[in-house]
Symmetry: C2
């Protein structure tokens, strides 16, 4: 056991500031996708990221979903009754709106995601329009609010987690899901029933669904009008956080150091891989790999589903020494990742380039 001189504790990679005990507590309370798990087309359930605002509720198998408000036929459904309305399975990449928050300076005190709040799963459930067909929204209904069973406080406001969609945002791909990767939903992913809104950041996909409410006015819940907003200054209303943005990540090559997670790579030809995705079902058309600032095109695999991430691959002739790898994606609508984060108070929607440092020996 001779010590390799490369790795030193205390050597830092990118996120230089210290983190508070509360930030650590949130990091411990949620699951981040380990970077090597980008290798899986379909993220294994226990590796899929989670973001729970409050405690995971303990719901019974007899749990019922109520649909009410501005509908002609309010009623409650058990999951088995929803199954009778139809079933659809979709492969969907979901990213938390706060993914990359730890890379925004100054940093908002919240869940300090670096880059692991993105994963891909196959969700099975009934398309929301089938349920609406039964409940029959009135002509006055404009929005649909989704209330979870999870409850607590945020900034002094007591509430259940709840989000809404406008009725014109509801498509046949919005699912009330009871299964994930072919298995019943696990507790932390919303058992027994959750919403899945493909193409949107994760906050739209309300877990532990308890109540659906048709509204004739815009929904004013905390997570809709306060929580998930792009705000440049305190007191501003801010734009709502909606679809995911074009983004890509590198699956780090080589092996890690335990503490620093820095990577050591063997010299020679290295196949660098990663993932890229965008929002609203828009495809990725281009990914570039940057090595020490020199960019070249990567090969991008076709989509396996409208809403799933795409794999990219590029060859790199690795030479001994220190190197910076980066990746940059563009989508079919011409959106390109920015070099630096578009700062906002809540640390939302950071889709700046992913950069990693590696040492080649």
């Amino acid at each position: 056991m001779s010590a390799h001189p490369f790795f030193e504790r205390g050597r830092r990679d990118s996120v230089e500031d210290d983190f508070s005990a509360e930030e650590l507590g949130l990091a411990l309370n949620n699951v981040s996708l380990p970077p090597e798990a980008l290798r899986y087309d379909l993220t294994p359930v226990g590796l899929h990221y989670t973001l729970s605002h409050f405690d995971i509720p303990a719901l019974k198998p007899s749990h019922r979903l109520t649909i009410e408000g501005s509908v002609e036929r309010p009623r409650a459904f058990q999951v088995d009754e929803l199954r009778a309305l139809g079933e659809k399975t979709l492969r969907v990449t979901v990213e938390c709106a706060g993914n990359g928050r730890a890379g925004m300076t100054p940093r908002y005190p919240s869940m300090p995601w670096t880059c692991g709040a993105v994963s891909t799963a196959e969700w099975t459930g009934v398309p929301l329009p089938a349920l609406l067909g039964v409940a029959k929204p009135t002509r006055q209904a404009k929005e649909i609010a989704f209330h979870g069973a999870d409850a607590g406080f945020d900034s002094g406001v007591e509430h259940h987690f709840a989000r809404s969609l406008r009725l014109d945002e509801v498509t046949d791909d919005v699912l009330l899901a009871w299964a994930m990767n072919g298995q019943p939903l696990p507790p932390q992913h919303g058992a027994p029933l959750r919403l899945v809104v493909p193409g949107w950041f994760g906050m739209a996909s309300v877990k532990w669904l308890e109540r659906i409410e048709l509204l004739e006015r815009p929904f004013d819940g905390y997570q809709q009008v306060v929580g998930y907003r792009y705000k440049k200054q305190s007191g501003s209303e801010g734009a709502p956080v909606r679809h995911m943005k074009v983004k890509s990540l590198i699956t780090p090559p080589g092996v890690p150091d335990w503490y620093t997670r820095r990577r050591l790579v063997e010299q020679g030809t290295v196949e660098v891989q990663g993932r890229a995705w965008s929002g609203a079902g828009v495809a990725i058309t281009k990914v570039e790999l940057g090595v020490d600032g020199a960019w070249s095109d990567a090969a991008v695999e076709p989509r396996k589903s409208t809403f799933a991430w795409q794999r990219w691959r590029a060859k790199w002739q690795a030479t001994p020494g220190e190197h910076e790898l980066a990746c940059r994606a563009a989508d079919a609508q011409g959106a390109v990742q920015p070099l630096e984060p578009d700062w906002n108070m809540g640390g939302m929607g950071n889709n700046a380039l992913h950069r990693i440092h590696v040492t080649v020996r």
Copy 2:
């Protein structure tokens, strides 16, 4: 939406120091049991804690386990061949030796666990003695080293994760496991094959098992002689970390604040629950609930298996105001949790009392 005056960002609970970016990175890279998930007798797979020193390896279904060294019949086995040697299912509570590290001051720079690195699963596999019966250790063999497929650096030392047991520590309860809670092992829990050593801290239960080596001398791998030791000062050899210690946790009552995770509880009769366990298959005989320093006995449920945690329950008449709850367990050998951590450099084996602060309204 009126703001409740109770919760304020920046108000801290117990772990006062800031954390480094590396500590945050490790917290993001591993799974901690959310405190409310102490409610499950059997931890759902994706909520079970994980501690991966290096990347999760991508092993093929054709992966083989080699047994070699001081044996009469060295050979390699596929998992299906191991199944033919017998099968046993055990319910086992496993705790990471570093659980509670964040509560030791000064704090060792490593995975900053607060209290979530403990979980309970049902493991299915073949007892290790059945494999040894086939390979036939020589008379000179004294130790058995278990080498994982996961590799990287720690403190400059490049190695595969590996640990050993003395042959006299091997019982019929030590399993080479291929299933967890009745399902094939997921990648992050050691697929396709891992060791499970009931009664020991988690480091003994080597994941992604690749090679078993019979030795005629004590194993000198990094994780055996450097990593998992109780050291009071730099340069000392330290005692080896082995069995778990007597410990208990409270399932926090009430609802959380998103950022601080502080709890708000309604006044009246509250049933406070939690879990308690010890090491080496020793039962818990007593748990006390402390409320603002006044202790009373909790009811302790019998064990559901020799190696599984036990549930405890106690009634509390909650009155409005601020309160501190704590719990303290004793085991059948008379070991009792200490009031304060027994500090050591690596932050190992912290079994001091679990204390939480709650506000009652």
